[in-house]
């Protein structure tokens, strides 16, 4: 392992470039969760990837590539937010336009007595799915289907590991609203993964 790390022949660099690029989708979702605006997120991810490729020699391999790229992205986001505040505060984050999308769906998940309808199926050996690339593609598609605010709150809570208290402050919502959004997101993701993967979608 140690001698491999010290050799950087051109084909290894090329492979690393390709691998860096494969994290773009994740980084974009991370940036959207922070900035809310897809256009701004694309811009900042582009900056982060260019900086990463520029400094790829600085990647020690001690953390995962994704973690390293995320740390670069975080700096770029902070940098970007500073610029936005000073130069173009008029381009504030666009409001979420999809908040009212079918508020009733969660109620339809239960029957008149409040029991699951339909009942929940078993997920056989779900952790083996974590070893399959296609499963993560399904997960990303399910994430993208969530209402914007719920998707953002879920991403901050579960992917970034932020405390709900901090999320409430960032999103300017009450704690109970935060929990409702998280619960909606979890239930929707659970149903989506169930449909698209665990119950024969694969």
């Amino acid at each position: 392992m140690a001698d491999r790390k010290n050799i950087n022949p051109p084909d290894r660099i090329a492979a690393l470039f390709k691998e860096v690029e494969s994290h773009r989708g994740y980084l974009l979702r991370f940036a959207v969760a922070k900035l809310r605006d897809t256009g701004q997120a694309e811009e900042v991810v582009q900056e982060a990837l260019l900086a990463a490729l520029d400094g790829v020699g600085g990647f020690s391999g001690q953390s995962s590539l994704r973690t390293w790229l995320t740390s670069i992205l975080k700096f770029k986001i902070i940098d970007f937010q500073r610029r936005v505040i000073s130069e173009r505060a008029q381009f504030a984050a666009a409001p979420d336009e999809d908040e009212s999308a079918d508020p009733e769906w969660m109620e339809r998940r239960y029957d008149d007595t409040g029991h699951w309808n339909p009942r929940l199926g078993e997920w056989a050996n779900p952790d083996s799915a974590l070893e399959q690339r296609q499963f993560f593609e399904v997960f990303e598609r399910c994430l993208d289907k969530l209402p914007k605010a719920a998707g953002r709150v879920f991403f901050k809570r579960e992917v970034m590991g932020v405390d709900t208290g901090d999320i409430c402050k960032e999103e300017d919502i009450s704690a109970s609203n935060c929990w409702v959004m998280l619960h909606r997101a979890r239930l929707a993701l659970r149903d989506c993964l169930d449909r698209s993967w665990f119950q024969g979608g694969r």
């Binding site: 494969s22 995962s64 973690t67 009942r119 929940l120 779900p126 690339r133 579960e158 929990w179 619960h183």
Partner: protein
Amino acid sequence: MNQAAELSCREAARLMSRQQDAALTVAEQEVLKNHLYTCLSCRRFDEQLGFLRRLARRYGEAGPPIADDPA
């Protein structure tokens, strides 16, 4: 909580979700435990919530496994 000890799945699901983020009261833990004891769907939901968390953390850390492993 003002509801009787009998919990619906809707309420149980809310409690299980909230438990991912904050501690439940002793009374809440008690009614939830009683519900889970008799409800297979809710036990599955609880497990699946735990899996969602592992999945999301993995997604944010290493990410998916690399497509063609050179090894």
